[in-house]
Symmetry: C2
Subunit: 550 residues, 2 copies
């Protein structure tokens, strides 16, 4: 591909805080079509195709069979599992021309059970795994960060079916390993697995695969002492409140303009953990109010709240109808039109100025716990029989009894993985794509393409590399070196070749890597072989970190 | 892949009239999820992947750049072209959680212009073509025939941009040729191109690629004399009415229970072409009525009607509100609440019993015209500036003037192409997949797999072929020969190998082709080489019919 023919422009000015969004927009990878909805331009589509290929190969290695489920599904399918009613407005519901209720798939457990139902009726057919790579839509209230959190996305989702918990667990481990291989092959072996909350998926054991980064939207609890790792949503919470010896009488204090818990504590010379804080949410379904009291230093965890209420919620927009006075909400003489919850953090607290908390690792109880931010780049769930029971999927076991199979499910968002790699592998000038997913392996920068010799040598090298199977981008534009190099930084190809009248004068091309670790002159005649060897070297570096499959 | 592990069942009983729907359902390729919505099981997904690969290769050969547009798009995008209002309810519209209007893409002209807008601002960037392979949704009122006419489908759609009509026409011809190559590579070189109506797409010149088959839902006009080929929707209509010498007075005749034009003509001893027929439609947008009078032997063409009205329509469901008396509608003393149209077929007709019509080829005027049915398996359009003008996409030409580029667009439905191949290539027992898109190239039928020698030889041949790069399905089940062979017919693999105690007794395997044209014994030792040679032979037969690209 020649840059002169490639559709896209590159831009100089920063366009977003999150680096992957900034660089992928500036580099001509993505273009926003609507809130949380993007088109992929050719370089991004090339990366996506390569990630999809890795996903296919790894899913096939663990005996996956590729299928395709629909994007738009009838309500009846989601009603059969009960999720039509239990999932909030992130499930986009609509009516077709005949008035029938439908929705856009945000996950495909129901479709997987629908497909396998009636065609896996005996135990001999188990285990099996089916997967697809398909467009999904999740009506996120807070889309952000380019491809990090979008509403429409391409996802690899896989569903396995088993006749015993032991068999599921064995397969779950194989898939866990396949995921480690996938991240390593995509160039981010740094991804770690953490225990997670199963949320709306049902089931018990689940893991999220996390790339640790400050722009991540998940909060992780990591204990360097014992190796405990969990998503904050799933982490057990240990809070100690030590009761005061003498209970003080209730006392009314005027706090003036101090409305937040911080301001009030400051005013009264108290600490946040000796206060009681009020937070108001609304249920998505009917906007009814939920008022939560927590200890002043404890944040409400929306996922735990959702799980407790069995209803999706959002922070209250306008609390007037709740009969609440913003900034002064308290548990005394309360007459709120709301469900009122008291968080466990208040258990044992007296006077609300006494007591001290100690955060500790819920596993080893030492106090070395670290809180880190992370992007979730994949997840795996042991679903159990939640879907097969609800949807009546059965098989005949060895004794002729009809039983429900046990399921696992396994997801990876393709676009988010691409953006996460960019987040992890970039410098201030652009992405540094790992060679396994780079849009092109090599970019030839032909400086002064109006020079006949430069043009001829660049074209000849382009042909030689392409014939050898390399993926080459040739910048054949009559632009300045600075302009061409800053575009090349945004393309992020791992290998760069510079051909100019100056290098040709020395009878060489200049070979550099995007990560600046290598820079050498190579004689013209040796160039194709040396470049192919470098490509292989870079691939070997990636593969060296890929664990064996099981 | 082993049949014992493959997800799916095959069925004996006919399940549908249309053969591709019947065979692909019975063969475990597709499973209906809702009205016009299907899941693809592993064999169908394998075929789809192969068709997608052919599409990618051919689009890349004509300098296409792969991109990805969204499935769900904001209304604003469709409003910018005017199609939000002009397209009927086949465009599925809905609101997201914030109440914003959105729709599901049934085609992506707007998204293509949105992507290219502002990044192709000078004439040097032209021409270029972008394409995607993506899920589309079209809310068909009459989904039918398995994958032939569905609501959700995977489509390859391509959009080219040009600076002159001549450049578009040159590219259009390249794409036309690429389409011929695609159908030939998919095993149906029988596909023909016919002139078509551009419908809602806008633009003037367009072609549909048609597979002639009785179950087709399009009607084609084909003249064997001069080669004229057109979709009935686009074919020019020539009707002659010869005026009577003397006008007769209007006369009222009681027709009793005779309501249809046929019954009335029969009753009065007249011919249909000497009568005037009334047909009532409703606009999709507001259900308002449209009353059309045609000559009794002339059918209303919905596409022409839609084009004329610039509004989508459907046959009237209930005409009570139109102030019309069903079965007695006529142009005399009419007081209908409807738009009233008189078809050109009535021009020059007098007394409505005189005159004679002659249908003739609109091109050579000879009377040899043939009417055939066909499935549309692709289309190409010269769109002109309709979208770039409406959406304000411009570039600077050589003189520095800002002008709108000229577009072409080119579509192929992947699932429909798969079903069409099945429709064209099958016998009563199952599909006969062309080797280029077959789910597997070879099926090994291991009869009596409980026999240790059969099991070992089958496994060894499976390995030998797989190592040589062949795609092999191994039926390793302990089932009868009849059962295994009828499943094999439904899998439709072009090459079949039979290994049984009987063949092993003779030291051979039996090699047959799915189309029954070849049947031979091959010595065990020669089997891998002979089978690979046969695979190549079958591929060569396909490639022999693929035209050169231009």
């Amino acid at each position: 591909m020649k840059v002169s023919q490639l559709l896209g422009e590159r831009y100089k000015d920063r366009v977003a805080d999150i680096e992957s969004q900034n660089l992928m927009t500036r580099g001509g990878y993505i273009k926003q079509v609507g809130n949380g909805i993007y088109s992929l331009l050719p370089p991004a589509k090339r990366i996506q195709n390569k990630i999809e290929r890795i996903l296919r190969e790894e899913m096939d290695l663990i005996d996956g069979q590729e299928v395709l489920f629909p994007v738009a599904m009838p309500a009846a399918l989601w009603q059969s599992s009960g999720r039509w009613d239990s999932i909030g407005s992130e499930l986009l519901r609509f009516k077709d021309r005949s008035g029938a209720d439908m929705c856009l798939g945000m996950t495909h457990e129901e479709a997987a059970v629908h497909m396998a139902n009636n065609i896996a009726g005996t135990y001999q057919k188990y285990p099996f795994m089916i997967y697809q790579i398909q467009t999904k839509f999740r009506d996120e209230p807070r889309a952000r960060g380019g491809l990090i959190r979008v509403r429409e996305f391409t996802m690899k989702d896989a569903y396995s079916f088993h006749t015993s918990q032991a068999d599921l667990e064995q397969y779950y481990d194989r898939c866990y390993r396949a995921y480690e291989r996938i991240y390593a092959r995509a160039g981010i072996p740094e991804v770690i697995a953490v225990k997670s909350d199963s949320g709306m998926m049902g089931g018990k054991v689940s893991h999220e695969f996390m790339l640790l980064t400050d722009i991540g939207e998940d909060t992780l609890v990591i204990c360097p002492e014992c190796g405990y790792r969990a998503n904050m949503e799933a982490a057990e919470c240990i809070v100690h409140n030590e009761a005061d010896a003498v209970l003080k009488p209730l006392q009314s204090v005027y706090t003036g303009e101090a409305k937040t818990i911080e301001d009030v504590c400051l005013l009264l010379g108290s600490k946040a953990e000796k206060s009681c804080k009020a937070v108001v949410y609304q249920r998505n379904a009917d906007d009814s109010f939920v008022l939560i009291f927590t200890r002043g230093d404890v944040e409400v965890n929306e996922t735990k709240l959702t799980n407790y209420l069995k209803a999706a919620v959002h922070p209250a927009v306008d609390i007037e109808n709740a009969n609440l006075c913003a900034g002064n909400i308290g548990p005394v003489e309360l007459s709120a039109k709301a469900t009122v919850l008291f968080d466990r953090s208040l258990v044992g607290a007296t006077n609300l100025i006494c007591g001290a908390n100690k955060e500790a690792c819920p596993s080893c109880h030492r106090h070395s716990i670290r809180i880190r931010r992370g992007i979730e780049v994949g997840n795996i769930f042991q679903l159990g029989r939640r879907y097969t029971e609800a949807m009546g999927m059965t098989y005949d076991d060895e004794n002729g009894n009809r039983v429900n199979p046990i399921m696992g499910c396994y997801g990876i968002g393709v676009g988010r993985l691409m953006a996460s790699v960019c987040e992890e592998k970039h410098d201030q000038y652009g992405p540094i794509w790992p060679i396994t997913i780079a849009p092109w392996e090599v970019e030839i920068c032909a400086l002064r393409c109006d020079n006949a010799q430069v043009k001829a040598e660049a074209a000849s090298l382009y042909d030689a590399l392409t014939r050898r199977g390399a993926e080459v981008l040739l910048d054949d534009r009559a632009v300045s070196a600075g302009f061409m190099f800053s575009d090349a930084d945004l393309f992020g190809c791992p290998v760069r070749v510079i051909i100019s009248p100056k290098t040709l004068g020395r009878g060489v091309i200049e070979l550099v890597t995007r990560d600046k670790s290598l820079k050498e002159d190579v004689a013209l005649a040796d160039a194709p072989a040396r470049i192919m060897a470098l490509i292989q070297e870079l691939k070997d570096q990636i593969w060296a970190k890929v664990p064996e499959s099981i």
